[in-house]
């Protein structure tokens, strides 16, 4: 007999109890329901903020949304990488890398899909492609930071970097700027895409192989 949250089983004591499936317990252990709600909230906030920018006059006015909404989404994803019982998780029979990789890529794809509709149109400048690129890049940096610093502080390096670039790249131009100021570049800028995709690949592989850095007494 199955239910939506697990399955109902009659135990050896004759009682009927409901137990959740392993994958569902895994999802709850990573606070994925809360993460999904936070990503939805981020997307709604991005839509609301984008509507107040009058971007039809100048697509460049969308830069705050293009840069900051993916940053916020990546911070949400980063904190979901925390494992409260890391020491026990390490004794698991099943290999962790497929689950970690699946969690990270699924959340990054979902975040991009949720935030991109806030900036539809103007794909060549500051539209949905730029949001997808920045979501990938910021999530990659956040995942790498989770491995090096721990999940709870994983948002910090991406936040510091994107904020610094946001404040310092107004007058930056040229090939070098396309690389170091990738979160501020138009969606068609190839160099910025290369950096963001590389950041995601490195972060995803690092996280899949090593997991978030243990926090607490064994850190």
């Amino acid at each position: 007999m199955r239910t939506t949250h697990g399955r109902t089983v009659r135990t050896t004591h004759g009682r009927t109890v409901r137990t959740a499936h392993g994958p569902l317990l895994y999802a709850r252990s990573r606070a994925l329901p809360l993460t999904l709600a936070a990503l939805a909230g981020t997307a709604l906030f991005a839509v609301w903020a984008a509507g107040r920018l009058d971007a039809y006059l100048d697509p460049g006015r969308r830069v705050p949304i293009v840069a900051l909404a993916p940053l916020l989404a990546s911070a949400v994803i980063g904190t979901s990488l925390y494992s409260a019982s890391d020491e026990l998780d390490r004794t698991a029979v099943r290999p962790w890398w497929p689950r970690r990789l699946g969690q990270l890529t699924a959340l990054a794809a979902l975040a991009a899909a949720l935030v991109a509709p806030a900036v539809l149109g103007h794909a060549e400048t500051f539209g949905a492609p730029a949001v997808v690129r920045n979501t990938l890049g910021c999530t990659g940096i956040t995942a790498a930071a989770a491995v090096l610093l721990g999940a709870r502080l994983s948002w910090l390096p991406a936040f510091a970097y994107v904020t610094a670039v946001y404040l310092g790249s107004a007058t930056a131009h040229g090939r070098a700027a396309a690389v170091w100021a990738w979160p501020m570049q138009p969606g068609a800028q190839r160099g910025a895409w290369a950096v963001a995709v590389a950041a995601f690949a490195v972060g995803a592989v690092l996280y899949a192989v090593r997991g978030a850095r243990p926090e607490g007494s064994r850190a």
């Binding site: 135990t11 050896t12 392993g22 409260a84 004794t91 698991a92």
Partner: protein, 256 residues
């Protein structure tokens, strides 16, 4: 026959040598692991639990070399582990947390509900099985930790400070559970409480500075205490200090 064998085990923590060329073989029974803080007890338990890798040496569990990936999954299925600080997911009930660990151990899904109830009942928490773990007292949380460690009826059970936070009555009950588990499994208990070792263990290993300072039965350690006249309120405490001091005496290390 030994279900657990380590040879030439060396573990480093940054610049500190936690375990130094350790040789140990343990079979069915309850094995107490004693030693002062920093002696290497937790390092040894973590290596045996396959969560930490040794810098040198060989670890064999249930006949499999843990360095070989091929046999590792099979070993972990038959391994139970209670870390010193195991952490738990705040939103989980006792039932869900123990079921989560059963899932980590790849227990057949159909067996999990009954196994979870049995493990929780064995630690005396049957009436709190659907309570959130975060609402339990420290001693109860520790018992949840023991329940998750035994949910898969492990052949090798590793317990790091299992009685920390348990009241005297719970400790007496836990010793009974240890004796029951030790009849069929290899149980390794790291503890500072020598009276637990005296009451429940079939064998005791005393570690000091990453090396074995003493091995024998609790009775032999108590006898050593009675004959040595070292400090302590109970014979086994006196035996503990006497064995440590003998190990630390100049020239003794080479002889071990």
């Amino acid at each position: 026959m030994s279900s657990l064998r380590v040879t030439g085990l060396r573990v480093r923590h940054r610049k500190t040598l936690a375990l130094d060329s350790l040789d140990l073989a343990l079979g069915t029974g309850v094995h107490g692991l004693l030693g002062p803080n920093g002696a290497g007890k937790t390092s040894l338990i973590r290596v045996l639990a396959t969560v930490a890798r040794p810098d040198a040496g060989r670890v064999e569990l249930l006949g499999e070399d843990t360095a070989a990936h091929r046999g590792l999954a099979g070993v972990r299925r038959r391994l139970g582990y209670l870390p010193q600080d195991f952490g738990y997911y705040p939103g989980f009930t006792v039932r869900e947390f123990v079921a989560y660990v059963a899932w980590l151990k790849e227990m057949p899904a159909a067996d999990v509900p009954a196994a979870v109830e049995r493990a929780v009942a064995r630690v005396g928490l049957a009436d709190r099985i659907d309570a959130k773990v975060r609402t339990l007292s420290g001693g109860m949380v520790r018992r949840v930790g023991i329940a998750q460690a035994i949910v898969n009826d492990p052949a090798v059970l590793l317990l790091d400070e299992p009685t920390a936070g348990l009241d005297p009555e719970q400790r007496v009950e836990f010793r009974g559970l240890l004796r029951e588990l030790g009849a069929t499994a290899t149980v390794v208990v790291s503890t500072h409480l020598v009276e637990d070792v005296a009451a429940a263990c079939t064998e005791v290993t005393l570690l000091d500075a990453g090396r074995i300072a003493y091995r024998g039965t609790p009775q032999a350690l108590s006898l050593l205490g009675e004959t040595s006249g070292g400090p302590g309120d109970h014979p086994i405490e006196r035996g503990y200090t006497a064995a440590l001091r003998a190990h630390r005496a100049p020239g003794a290390r080479e002889a071990v």
